[in-house]
């Protein structure tokens, strides 16, 4: 594993925090720009924008499908392994939707269809946004109570924040839409990201011993922790993508990206801040 060769003690705190902070800034600019131009930080999926999603198993090619649905607001045709296809349509009026459903039932009777109205999508959006805000504040409060010390707690909250923003930026770049599933994954990331941070902080501040030893010990445990989680999520991603289960594939891909981002933030950003904090404390 390439990342395991990273020597957590080799770099100065300043060097450690540089990369995550630059990425945070870039991701922040990207999301900010998208928000200004489209009103949402990440391009929304069917859940939030309204539209119709169809999962179908057919040997028809993408071109055939595109021709079949040429008269409808077709957005994309996704292909899985095997014959699975995920077809997305933009919002349409009720009459057009009825005729689409009839067409789908005729051509591909065994397909899963989900449809969300445009205004209902807006409601879901605002509810998801509320959930994200409440979650983040709740997390920050728990961390503050647990550490009762502004610097380490602030570092944990900052790195959780960076996790979400950078993951969001990557989602936007590689085209994973913001949906109920991916929002849930981001919320879960808030929870996930904190446990390696807490391990790091507890080891560094509450254990006795040399800073270098504590740091590399925490690093070793932390990496194996995140790796096991990554392994479980990767297995889920592979199977869900192959089996064309869109919602699980989306949740899994966001968690995968998020966990990798979290490794960086924990062992560079959070560790860097803590190292500086401990070193300064010793000088006094």
């Amino acid at each position: 594993m390439e990342f395991a060769r990273y020597d957590v003690n080799k770099y100065s705190p300043r060097q450690m925090v540089a990369l995550p902070l630059v990425l945070l800034l870039l991701a922040g600019v990207l999301l900010g720009y998208t928000t200004l131009t489209t009103g949402l930080p990440i391009t929304p999926g069917i859940d939030f924008a309204g539209g119709t999603a169809v999962t179908v198993f057919t040997s028809d090619s993408r071109e055939t499908i595109e021709t079949t649905f040429a008269g409808y607001p077709l957005l994309s045709v996704g292909e899985g392994i095997g014959d699975g296809k995920y077809i997305q349509f933009g919002p349409m009026d009720s009459a057009q939707y009825q005729s689409l459903v009839a067409l789908i039932n005729e051509k591909y009777p065994d397909s899963k269809i989900d449809q969300i109205g445009e205004t209902f999508g807006k409601t879901l959006q605002s509810q998801a946004f509320l959930a994200l805000i409440f979650s983040f504040i709740g997390m920050a409060v728990v961390v503050m109570i647990a550490f009762r010390n502004i610097v380490p707690a602030g570092a944990v909250v900052l790195s959780a924040f960076a996790d979400i923003v950078i993951t969001g930026g990557i989602m936007q770049i590689i085209g994973i839409p913001l949906s109920l599933g991916t929002t849930a994954a981001l919320l879960m990331l808030i929870g996930y990201s904190v446990d390696s941070d807490i391990l790091l902080t507890t080891r560094l501040l509450k254990r006795k011993g040399k800073l270098e030893e504590k740091l590399s010990g925490a690093f070793k445990t932390g990496i194996i922790m995140t790796t096991t989680t990554l392994a479980a999520i990767a297995a889920m991603w592979v199977v869900a993508t192959a089996g064309q289960i869109q919602i699980i594939a989306e949740i899994a891909s966001v968690l995968l990206i998020g966990l990798l981002v979290d490794m960086m933030n924990t062992w560079m950003l959070n560790a860097g801040i803590l190292k500086e904090y401990v070193l300064r404390g010793n000088k006094k």
């Binding site: 269809i113 509810q127 998801a128 929870g191 446990d195 807490i198 479980a232 869900a240």
Partner: protein, 485 residues
């Protein structure tokens, strides 16, 4: 590990509790009640996307307004009724329900004109109306003999009033589902002519509005309804010609919904008198006194509407999964779960290379999944998202076991029992904070009515709770017993 250590281990309450819960869960899934025909699935409940079926989410076309007025509330409501041509219902002291999707801006002038003002404006219906909708939908579904239907009222977070109703029908395709919801029964009023013979008076299309159950001065419950002019004319004609006006008791009025008699009673003397002189448009059917009367009035009111909902609803979301596809998804997610567990086992083996650590880790993880499935059987349906949550729990579960192992095995050796307990406590401390964060982070999603991801959030929270309270403490004990041999 010898027999002796196993015995002492089982006597430890933490380990005993895990075993007990695993056994209890297996019993719950497979034996209580026994369900051999379902094979491995046992009594687990699956969501629509795994079972096959359709869902419809509908929005009430109605608003609830809190108002203040110097004048009379009755006048205000009358102004709204005529101004908007819709039904207006008083909910309580200062709330009214307007059964039409109307903007606040459109309401302001009507309120101003009646000397009133709008205090708050929210989309939705009163809980009373919402329950009525639910009852009507339930009745429709039951009438078709469908047991596997779920009907839920949804209130968006931040609002006080239900705004949506979601109906889930297992094993039904989309077209049928829409039919069930949209379908209205055939309602007919007939009059008894001679003996058991009855004659047609009018159909349900002549009923223009149906009121809510009300008590009259004698304490009898009844439902008022209005007829069109033609309807009222037909009603009068039938009453006169059949002789009901002269001898009400021998000529019952019979109401029939889809060929079933739902109400039968004579004309009241007062109404008979009125009908003699001319048609009457506002009628009332009384159902009797007390709770039984109220109950009957409620049902009659639904029948009078012929299964139509009191509030117009718009379909804002819908979906369907064919049963075969659901079955395929089921296999896929089961495979995903197994593969996740296996990969995790390989990773921890790669790290520790010690079967006596890896086997308990994986076993505890498996126990956790079984317990979660056992609990979920009673409280939630497993849908795709919930299973994603379950697999994610496998991931977090193992990583917290790693924290315990590494914390305890500090410097590669097992310490003395005293030191062990201290470190074990510290590891649990780390896990407790992590658990609290996951709990808090997922809580909003678990509480929100509108999210289809409640299952995902609930299973994650349960996983964290079971982990911190039951399985992690037990793992600590087991690993200590194994390593200190």
């Amino acid at each position: 590990m010898n027999g002796e250590t196993i015995k002492t281990l089982i006597k430890d309450w933490r380990v005993a509790l895990v075993l007990l819960l695993v056994v209890g869960s297996l019993v719950g899934i497979y034996l209580a009640p026994p369900s051999p025909e379902k094979g491995l699935e046992g009594n687990l409940q699956f969501g629509l996307d795994l079972e096959g079926g359709s869902w419809l989410q509908m929005e009430f076309q109605s608003v609830v307004v809190a108002f203040s007025t110097e004048g009379s509330v009755g006048d205000l409501m009358e102004d709204l009724r005529t101004g908007l041509e819709t039904e207006v219902i008083r909910i309580d002291e200062n709330h009214i329900e307007i059964r039409k999707s109307v903007t606040r801006a459109d309401l302001e002038p009507i309120f101003a004109q009646s000397g009133a003002s709008i205090v708050t404006y929210q989309k939705g219906v009163s809980p009373f109306t919402a329950d009525e909708v639910k009852r009507i939908l339930n009745e429709k579904v039951n009438a078709l003999g469908m047991q596997d239907a779920r009907i839920n009222l949804l209130t968006p977070t931040g609002s006080e009033f239900p705004q949506y109703v979601r109906i889930e029908l297992a094993g039904v395709d989309m077209a049928t589902a829409q039919d069930i919801v949209g379908q209205q029964g055939l309602f007919e009023i007939r009059v008894q002519t001679a003996g058991n013979e009855t004659e047609h008076v009018l159909y349900g299309d002549q009923i223009t509005s149906v009121g809510v159950p009300q008590k009259d001065l004698d304490g009898r419950w009844g439902v008022s309804f209005t007829l069109t002019e033609t309807g009222a004319e037909a009603f009068r004609e039938a009453a006169v010609e059949s002789g009901a006006v002269d001898n009400p008791d021998a000529h019952n009025l019979v109401m029939i919904l889809d060929n079933e008699t739902v109400y039968s009673a004579p004309l009241s003397g007062e109404l008979a008198g009125q009908l003699r002189s001319g048609p009457v448009r506002s009628l009332s059917a009384s159902t009797g006194t007390g709770d039984a009367g109220l109950e009957d009035a409620m049902t009659l009111q639904i029948h009078l509407r012929a299964g139509a909902l009191p509030v117009k609803v718009d379909i804002v979301g819908s979906g369907s999964v064919p049963a075969a596809l659901g079955e395929q998804f089921k296999m896929t997610v089961a495979l995903a779960g197994l593969l996740a567990l296996l990969t995790v086992a390989v990773v921890v083996y790669y790290r520790y290379r010690e079967p006596s650590i890896v086997i308990p880790m994986v076993a505890i993880n498996l126990a956790e999944i079984i317990i979660l499935l056992g609990i979920s059987r009673f409280i939630i349906q497993l849908d795709l998202a919930t299973i994603a949550g379950l697999i994610a729990v496998v991931g977090t579960g193992i990583d917290q076991l790693v924290i315990i192992t590494d914390e305890v095995l500090h410097e590669g050796r097992v310490p003395s029992p005293n030191l062990y307990m201290k470190r074990y406590g510290r590891a649990l401390g780390i896990i407790a904070v992590a658990a609290a964060t996951v709990f808090i982070a997922m809580l909003p999603l678990a509480l929100m009515d509108l999210s289809t991801l409640r299952g995902f959030a609930i299973i994650t929270i349960l996983g964290v709770l079971i982990g911190i309270l039951v399985t992690r403490p037990a793992y600590g004990k087991i690993i200590m017993a194994i390593l200190s041999k």
